[in-house]
């Protein structure tokens, strides 16, 4: 049954309820379709989960439903009433709240004030802010959501988990009828996730309509009354609790039966290869402590760990983007002291950052110059002036090697899809003729097909002699491409898994619990 059919049926039974319907919604950004005719019904007193891979359009749908984006087509109906021109403000007034993926709190305002930002309670006659009521109510709400902090604490001093709970508390104080959770659990520890789920169950029994996005299948299966799967911006399936199997969900999400993607097999024995990178006792407490490992030529190693475990910070410290208190990095026999990105690149160590848009891509600059940006001091020159013809050749060569699909090298790089941008970034770093490559979440925000290509590029690089280190939250991905995986837990390496032992289940336990 398509969800909008359900909606039509309920329309007769229950007018004026708090059912929230998004009907035949479509949305495109810059001509690229993100959602195509998707419908979703959130029933009061139930949890409806959205599943799908990155880029499936889940967050976009929630953002439309909370007034952040305007849909190109389709309509939103809350309790039988059409919501036109929904804005974040009118959404809040209607009782719709989005708990965003990344908490958006006011850093310098108190936790209590953050609860009410945009709708501060006021005295009836004077219209002045009612601080007493804010203090009283926020204490009770904090207790309800299990947030144990002083209400006057500035938000910047809260941990990410506390900020997330504060976001939930915000929905409560605004008496929302509909709460949309956009991947609330990703930065949380298992215990914190439990607290959040208890909270969600409580809200559900109070008759609220809850929407939920998570990448963790088990979470989705355990909390949801309904599951809807999106793929590439299209509706794939909808099923009530117990109306599906785990495998069905996975197949619906990735569009093909599981098990098709096979582990990349390469000459697995790398122990006799030459050691190329040695990291010794790298420490910057409390972020990470005593990190030591080595990489060998032809090796693909993985770095697994939860959010906040220090994965990215370690990579940044190796690459000189972040200070380490002590420790050594030796690249191919040469110690890298006082590391800067420039020195690392010149020595043959490259780093592809996690957030390309912020850390790597020059969006408005053409592709060729994005590709050559890492080797500007070494570009071919005549009379100290860069020979642009030769620069173009270099860029062409590199982009061919990483198979960037593009119109011309002269178009700006933000015209490329996420996957192709990532290939262009890899092309950039290949020009530096690296010996070691660190990839931070190389497939994040990349569509499914492009993922496999990126895996191919990584394995090709390893075959050609590079040592690759992949940082990823996607354990399946690590199990797929890595010869060896180091597991980080709270800033320390707690385990190393090699060869056939690299499995998702095995890694998962280490990552979450820090021990077997």
């Amino acid at each position: 049954m398509r969800p909008e059919d359900a909606a039509d049926r309920h329309e007769v039974w229950q007018p004026g309820g708090s059912r929230y319907l998004a009907s035949h919604v479509s949305k495109a950004f810059n001509g690229a379709g993100v959602l195509h005719d998707v419908s979703l019904v959130l029933e009061p007193g139930s949890v409806h989960s959205l599943l799908g891979e990155n880029g499936a359009g889940k967050s976009t749908l929630f953002k439309i439903m909370s007034g952040l984006y305007e849909p190109d087509a389709g309509e939103l109906v809350l309790g039988g009433e059409r919501l036109d021109n929904l804005t974040p403000r009118s959404a809040l007034q209607q009782g719709i709240y989005l708990v965003p993926q990344e908490p958006t709190l006011m850093a310098h305002l108190s936790a209590a004030e953050n609860l009410y930002v945009g709708a501060l309670p006021r005295h009836g006659r004077t219209r002045l802010v009612d601080w007493k009521r804010i203090a009283r109510e926020s204490r009770s709400v904090f207790e309800r959501v299990g947030l144990d902090v002083d209400i006057e604490t500035p938000a910047r001093n809260l941990s990410i988990a506390q900020q997330q709970l504060l976001e939930c508390a915000r929905a409560l104080v605004h008496n929302c009828r509909v709460i949309l959770f956009d991947e609330p659990t990703s930065p949380l520890t298992p215990h914190e996730v439990e607290i959040l789920f208890d909270l969600m169950q409580g809200l559900r029994s109070e008759g609220l309509a809850l929407g939920f996005i998570s990448h963790r299948l088990d979470e989705v299966i355990s909390v949801s009354d309904q599951v809807t799967v999106l793929r590439d911006g299209r509706f794939v399936m909808n099923a009530p609790r117990d109306g599906y199997t785990r495998d069905e969900l996975v197949t619906a999400m990735i569009g093909r039966p599981i098990g098709v993607r096979t582990r990349v097999r390469r000459s697995s024995d790398v122990t006799d290869r030459r050691e190329i990178l040695r990291v010794e006792d790298l420490s910057a407490p409390p972020t990470f402590t005593d990190v030591s490992f080595t990489l060998r030529q032809h090796e693909v190693a993985g770095l697994a760990g939860l959010v906040g475990s220090g994965r990215t910070e370690i990579a940044e410290a190796i690459f000189g983007l972040r200070r380490a208190d002590h420790g050594r990095v030796v690249l191919d026999g040469t110690p890298l002291t006082h590391r800067t990105p420039r020195e690392c690149i010149d020595a043959g160590l490259i780093y592809l950052p996690e957030d390309r848009a912020r850390n790597g891509i020059f969006g408005e600059v053409d592709i060729s110059r994005n590709v050559t940006a890492g080797i500007i001091p070494h570009l071919p020159r005549r009379w100290h002036l860069i020979r642009t013809d030769r620069e173009l050749l270099l860029a062409e060569h590199a982009t061919t090697r990483t198979a960037v699909r593009m119109q011309t090298l002269g178009s700006t790089i933000n015209t490329l899809s996420g996957g192709n941008q990532q290939r262009a970034m890899i092309a950039r770093w290949l020009l530096a003729e690296p010996k070691v490559a660190i990839f931070d979440e190389p497939t994040r925000g990349v569509d499914v097909g492009a993922k496999d290509d990126i895996y191919d590029i990584v394995t090709d690089l390893a075959t050609s002699g590079l040592a690759c280190l992949i940082i990823s939250s996607d354990l399946e991905e690590l199990a797929l491409v890595c010869d060896r995986v180091l597991v980080i837990y709270e800033g320390r390496i707690v385990g190393e898994v090699e060869g056939e032992a690299v499995t998702t289940a095995h890694l998962g336990q280490l990552v979450v619990e820090g021990a077997m």
Binding site: P100, A107, H108
Partner: protein
């Protein structure tokens, strides 16, 4: 607390200078320093409102100048009552501040550019309304307000400054608009998502800044007793108002601070600059002194905030 630090800093400057020149704490000099700080303090209040909302207003000097000139002429020629003068400066400040507000909030011109442009435009306007003249024949009632003491060492204008500071603090702390100013200064996108009308709040912040700059013009006229076509701009009052704001602990990045600190910052500047005079440092070093104190305040501010954990660490996807 920046306010406490500033009171201590003022105390130290006063103590050191008094040790060398006991006349530094003569009631006449204390009264002079406080009265001299008053126009800066009032402008800094407006500047603080704008900076709290993550803006900046570089045009407060000519707003002060135009307001002062437009009151000075009828005051000289018609013996205009001060209360009517107040109405004039409120109107002038409102209009010019609102114009800034329109440029920043509706035309979406970056504040530093918008107000740099209006600095120039308003500066020209001041020349036109002043007709190139200096107006110095101001009625005694004005001079009395600007220079007389309540008791020895405590000028009337200090009372005005304190009353205004109390009013603005109350506004920022206890009204919805005041809290919205802090909110958009913290994170305009998040504020928008929380349903705060960001543009309206931005507009109001510049309008209030203009109004306070207008009041500052009236106080300036009363205190100094003369105005001309470059009053305000020539006094470097843009710089001192921003300096007082930053020294007072309001973050240039928005969302943190308040006007009490700015008033103390203005008094600190006035005391420090007077101390320079007592130390026989030539007056040409005054702007350099203001700049140096501003830089010191920024360095101090960075050190005191650098250690707290940042909230900007982005949560990442976990398995």
């Amino acid at each position: 607390m920046r306010e406490v630090q500033l009171i201590l800093a003022i105390g130290i400057v006063v103590a050191v200078t008094t040790a060398a020149h006991p006349s530094f704490v003569a009631p006449g000099n204390i009264s002079f320093m406080l009265a001299d700080a008053s126009a800066t303090a009032i402008l800094a209040m407006g500047q603080t409102i704008v900076v709290l909302a993550k803006g900046i207003d570089l045009s407060v000097a000519p707003i002060l100048g135009i307001s002062a000139v437009l009151v000075a002429f009828p005051a000289q020629d018609l013996n205009l009552p001060i209360i009517v003068g107040l109405a004039i400066v409120l109107g002038v400040g409102l209009v010019l501040g609102a114009a800034n507000g329109v440029l920043v909030s509706i035309a979406r011109i970056p504040p530093i550019i918008a107000t740099l442009a209006t600095l120039s435009v308003y500066g020209g306007l001041q020349f036109i309304v002043a007709k190139g003249e200096e107006i110095s024949n101001i009625p005694n009632s004005y001079a009395a307000l600007g220079n007389d003491d309540i008791v020895a060492g405590v000028p009337w204008v200090l009372l005005i400054v304190i009353a205004l500071a109390a009013a603005v603090t109350f506004f920022l702390r206890h009204t919805n608009m005041g809290r919205s100013i802090y909110a958009i200064g913290n994170d305009a996108t998040a504020a928008h998502r929380s349903g705060i009308p960001v543009r309206r709040v931005t507009f109001i912040s510049y309008t209030l800044c203009g109004i306070l700059a207008g009041i500052g013009g009236l106080i300036y006229l009363c205190h100094v007793g003369s105005v001309d076509s470059t009053t305000g701009t020539a006094d470097n009052i843009n710089l001192t108002s921003i300096a007082a704001t930053l020294i007072g602990g309001t973050a240039l990045t928005g969302g943190r601070g308040g006007v009490a600190g700015s008033v103390l910052g203005a008094i600190f500047l006035s005391v420090a600059l007077t101390a320079m005079v007592f130390a026989l440092i030539p007056a040409i070093w005054e702007p350099a002194g203001v700049g140096a104190l501003m830089l010191l305040a920024m360095l101090f501010d960075r050190r005191s905030t650098a250690r707290s954990p940042s909230r900007t660490r982005r949560p990442r996807r976990a398995p």
